[in-house]
Symmetry: C2
Subunit: 290 residues, 2 copies
């Protein structure tokens, strides 16, 4: 199954098991308190950092750029999201992932977004289905489907799979085909529940095998509350990709080597071409003897 | 399915999908030219380094200690293997993996080895089946089955699976049950063939799913001829464990963190107990500010 996104100039980005893993760069996101400067600029209508993050992520291997402007400082999300989407589209030629749970903001961004974007996200919650899917259908976009519903995030793979199926059916009833849906199997912390990652990995395997859908994943929650988070996050990303994830949402700067190695190992880097190019880049940055 | 090994004192080591990954420590092996001192000591009947490597690997988390004495310097393999097996058994209380393709040496080592060892290895080659399986049956040992036969290493998962099935059937005809067989799906370099790791991972998945067997793997060949080998090897180990490997043969010193993270993520480290103990050990070794 192939999910086809398009960049502002019309260039295709194909997500499928046979293609290299496509990274959605997550860095244009002011939430979490770590990105105060980004939030302040967005609130002031200054797109300098947004453009810079778009460029840096593309250089680090991102194939799609997520754009999220939600923060307490941003009063008019629709206006800020439109501005940020336009800024990214003018700066890099990569498909955009419009990241909002605000219906009017999503609608406004979809109207101005060139190419074929991804919408982040719909869940199995009735309000979310009603808010997001008609917009996705109207704009013939692709969409991320989160495996949770009005009862929350199920703690077993079978129920997460059932939610994914429900979203697929609802989408089909609006004319959105299954290939335009990327499922996020959802990640909880293994610090809080020892089975959390195992449940996610089993969900990924079953969705891949039984539904054949393409799969995204935000991986960093897995290490919440634990030390050595980068090692845990990278390990989880390898395991998730082995299980079927082919379009993860990550920080491309932090996960660049992990993604290159994963593509090398899943057979989607012929002649190790991109891996060796990365190695030569490392060598140029750090000449022998230093 | 549970593979049960026993240490010299009779302590069980259980290999199963529900138990933590069991590491077979590979460092007692003089081959490859990198271990000249080990080879020289073995040839001279000096077991100092053998004992030291056994202790160090156990401290780094190994659950089973592989013992291989094959090198050009060692003239009498049977005598050296017996001596090394006895030295390891006296030094650490862990099951031993007797690693030899020499029938008389294997027979001699099995006679003296306390506990319940693992034999490394049998293949689907007729000579290997005839040489190794009767010894495994006689000593009620467990055995590693390599997915290759007289035609070499097949380049597709279906044929590797068929060889594993053939070895299982032959073993059963001698009274060796499937739970006493760990399959090595075999690893070739992704530098030579872009699909090499993908074929191994698919073989692992299918053997796990269709035969339900426990799985070992020597992972380091995957990066042969490429730069940044530790990163590739660790990534491959994560992917192989995600696919079903639960008893890899590795250098426990180099792969300690990878194995701890993998157990954390596959749900076999309750309360992150071993992972956090490792982290505290790291902190003691490197106090804050250094």
């Amino acid at each position: 199954m192939q999910t086809v996104l398009r960049s502002p100039s019309g260039k295709q980005v194909i997500i499928s098991p046979a293609h290299p893993v496509v990274v959605i760069g997550e860095r244009i996101n002011p939430s979490g308190g770590r990105r105060k400067e980004l939030a302040a600029q967005m609130a002031a209508g200054d797109m300098t950092l947004v453009r810079e993050e778009a460029r840096r992520q593309l250089a680090a291997g991102a194939g799609v750029i997520d754009v999220n402007v939600q923060s307490a400082q941003v009063r008019d999300e629709a206006a800020a999201l439109v501005q940020a989407v336009e800024a990214v589209a003018q700066t890099v030629d990569a498909p955009i992932c419009i990241d909002s749970n605000n219906g009017p903001a999503l609608a406004a961004a979809l109207r101005v977004c060139p190419g074929r974007p991804l919408v982040n996200s719909v869940s199995g919650e009735e309000a979310s289905l009603a808010r997001v899917l008609p917009l996705v259908a109207e704009h013939r976009a692709a969409v991320i489907a989160m495996a949770m519903d009005d009862s929350g995030i199920p703690n077993d793979p079978q129920r997460r799979l059932a939610i994914a199926e429900k979203i697929v059916r609802r989408a089909e009833s609006l004319g959105i085909p299954p290939e335009d849906i990327l499922v996020d199997s959802l990640t909880l912390s293994v610090g809080a529940d020892a089975q959390a990652a195992a449940v996610t990995l089993e969900t990924i395997r079953r969705i891949r095998e039984e539904l054949g859908l393409n799969l995204t994943l935000g991986a960093s929650n897995v290490s919440f509350g634990l030390p050595l988070r980068p090692a845990i996050n990278a390990g989880f990303l390898f395991m998730a990709i082995a299980a079927g994830v082919n379009c993860p949402i990550v920080d491309p700067m932090k996960m660049r080597e992990t993604i290159l190695v994963a593509n090398l190992l899943r057979g989607t880097d012929p002649h190790a071409g991109r891996f060796l190019a990365y190695y030569r880049e490392l060598q140029r940055a750090q000449p022998a003897g230093q």
